[in-house]
């Protein structure tokens, strides 16, 4: 028997969790060091850029956006994930970085006496200038934020972010361009060499990302990283353990700002223009989505979040791809939630049966009620033609009714238990499919937003700590 005070249950808790294939993975995971993982990330990025993109601007753009959001999430992770400061003004640093770069690489100063024709510094000069400027901004805001904690901090920073957008929109329109923003920026340029293509910026961003991941990992496992997390868990205890809480907090703000600013400069150079609307609450929410979906507090999580959110958005923006995403998620959810297998089989069979039956009946009554073509293309569009009920033309009203119905049914399914739920799933899925084919595919842009919102809610309900995040206990 173990000596008193050694509690076996706790001691073994680790081993208990390690069972099944997940356990296997996590054991492997535990053995691998940090730099092999980094290599894997780099390899994936290389494969995508080298073989997948293949000159397609759209893919290059997607890849760039992924890396950009990963960068932003990394920076946010310092402030939110490690130091535990709920900074809703993060977007301001991103914006400041972008505008900083824009000012030194465009005609912006053209209408000032000192620099007619504008300031056109090379990237090696303008990036450090912009980043340093923003670092100072972060320092100042950090100093101000010291007086606040928790939600109050969140509130003030939220308005700092809003104020930034308002300011660039209204102040000095001659220089900042007001609502028209600044455009015609020169790209990253050293001497005569200039990054011209989106793919070029993709590579640049990837390198920046890899370097940052390495540096931040080393920082996280150093005294500074420990201090940040200590302050997050209990700032009072931290201060009683020789940690200068305020200094540490300001440091976190500044580092977050620096990363955001770097991302901002890359963003501005790639878009070759900046607009106040690039830095609105919408973008902030997406960055938070990346971080929280991936798992706040984990570097890999932040990056994964960036991938998931951006790719999801990209897929959702085109009817064909979004169909794959939609049905893919549907399948995965069914597999994951409906156990055991015979139930799954029964449900799927029931859905298919219901579909063709309903289609046949409605078709018999009125042909035009099923004459419409499903919104999604691809190999299964043909099958869907005899499955989903889609009236002729653009059946908006019909689709809207289905949409509302689908939402209500989903809510109902969540409420039901056991066999009732199993039964309710069948019509819900079918209505969902019909709604998707008849309505949601007509407005990809809107659908994307709705799906993102849904993904956020579901993830938070299923796994509040995010995909790669570790479970947190909080003393409130």
């Amino acid at each position: 028997m173990a000596p008193i005070g050694v509690d076996e249950w706790v001691a073994r808790s680790g081993d208990r969790r390690d069972s099944g294939w997940r356990g296997g993975l996590s054991r492997i995971d535990a053995r691998v060091g940090w730099w092999p993982r980094l290599l894997v990330v780099g390899l994936l990025a290389f494969v995508y850029g080298e073989f997948v993109v293949g000159g397609n601007v759209n893919y290059a753009q997607t890849g760039f956006n992924v890396v950009l959001y990963a960068l932003l999430a990394l920076g946010l992770n310092i402030v939110v994930g490690w130091a535990g400061l709920l900074d809703l003004g993060y977007i301001a640093f991103f914006g400041a970085g972008a505008y900083g770069y824009a000012l030194f690489s465009s005609h912006a100063f053209g209408n000032l006496p000192l620099a007619s024709g504008g300031v056109q510094l090379p990237a090696v000069a303008s990036i450090p200038i912009a980043v340093a400027g923003v670092a100072i901004l972060g320092l100042l805001i950090g100093l101000v934020a010291l007086r606040l904690s928790g939600d109050y901090l969140a509130i003030v920073t939220l308005f700092v972010g809003q104020a930034f957008a308002e300011a660039v929109n209204n102040v000095a329109p001659g220089t900042l361009g007001g609502a028209n923003g600044l455009f015609g920026l020169q790209g990253f340029k050293v001497g005569s060499a200039e990054i011209g293509s989106t793919l070029g910026y993709y590579w640049f961003a990837v390198i920046a990302l890899l370097i940052l991941m390495a540096l931040l990992h080393l920082l996280d496992t150093s005294r500074t990283g420990r201090a940040w997390r200590a302050v997050r868990d209990d700032s009072l205890a931290a201060s009683a353990m020789t940690i200068p809480v305020n200094k540490v907090k300001v440091m976190a703000f500044t580092f977050g700002a620096i990363v955001a600013a770097l991302a901002g400069t890359i963003f501005a150079a790639q878009q070759s223009s900046v607009f106040a609307t690039n830095f609105n609450a919408q973008t902030l929410i997406l960055i938070y989505a990346c971080l929280v979906l991936g798992g706040a507090g984990s570097i890999a999580g932040a990056v994964l979040g960036g991938v998931v959110v951006t790719v999801a958005q990209q897929l959702l923006s085109s009817p064909i791809d979004s169909a794959y995403l939609f049905y893919g998620i549907l399948v995965i959810v069914l597999i994951a939630r409906v156990r055991p297998w015979r139930h799954l089989g029964a449900v799927v069979a029931a859905i298919v049966g219901l579909g063709f039956a309903a289609h046949a009946i409605v078709g018999a009554i009125s042909h035009s009620a099923v004459a419409g073509s499903p919104g999604s293309a691809g190999w299964f569009a043909g099958a869907l033609r005899h499955f989903a009920i889609v009236p002729r033309g653009e059946p908006l009203t019909y689709g809207n009714i289905l949409y509302v119905a689908a939402i209500i049914m989903v809510i109902a399914v969540v409420q039901l238990k056991g066999i009732r739920r199993l039964i309710a799933v069948v019509p819900t899925v079918y209505v969902g499919i019909c709604c998707w084919e008849a309505r949601l595919t007509l407005d990809p842009g809107i659908t994307a937003q709705i799906m993102i919102g849904a993904i956020l809610i579901v993830t938070m309900a299923a796994r509040p700590e995010g995909l790669l995040g570790s479970r947190r206990v909080e003393v409130i």
Binding site: P3, I4, G5, V6, D7, V10, A11, S13, G14, L215, L216, L218, L219, S222, R223, T224, G225, R226, A227, R229, A230, R232, D233, D234, L236, A237, A238, S239, A240, M241, T242, I243, P244, V245, M251, F255, G297, S470, R472, V473, V475
Partner: protein, 262 residues
Amino acid sequence: MTRLLELEGVSLSFGGLRALHALDLHVDEHEIVSVIGPNGAGKSTVFNVITGIYEPDGDIRFDGQSIVGRRPHQITRLGIARTFQSLRLFLNMTVKENVKAATYGGTHATPIESMLRLPRARREEREVEATAQDVLSFFGQRLLGYRFNQPAYVLSYANRRRLEIARAMATGARLLLLDEPAAGMNPNETHEITELIGRLRDERGYTILVIEHDMHVVEGISDRVVALDHGEKLTEGGFHEVANHPGVIEAYLGRNPEALQK
């Protein structure tokens, strides 16, 4: 014997409520002093003013220099570390990280140095690692081995108390303030803690100021006992004289001396 800690006419009041009143208290090098008193007597408040969480009137000197008005982390750097009655570990950090975090004040590598793992950063990391090992090993069986890399929140209550002490040790302090180290422990664990506190002084040379309710522990460890009530010192001296001091008995349990005798 040199005076390590000295409180002189320390008073503190929250709005109208008077938490401490003209309190004099001193702790000598290598001494174990217990502070006793009924709930709300102001024991924890004493710790809070010493560690700089509240700023009192009067003077507090540590090793001869006044520490009133300094920030908590500065005071800890000078060599006063504490544990909390309501456990305040960094629950989401591993056991080892909890201890390492407490070495922040003792190390100086800048973030840049840490990022690039420059020589100073490497050296300090090694030292920190050693400190952590050393401090944790002090608790023998209890905190050793497989538990180092588990988050603190999986620890049992007793082990959380141990970890708090370990954390305090890692700050490199000379004076430990232990706030009810035996609270909520079973008799065996209580017994261990009593031994442990003794060893802290004898093996590690710490000076210890401890708040404790459990009279067995107090009796077992104290060189000197200070009794507080309503933020004022009732009496101080050896355990038995304090325990039999009528004021103390009354303060504790009105008119029922038996409880303290056994």
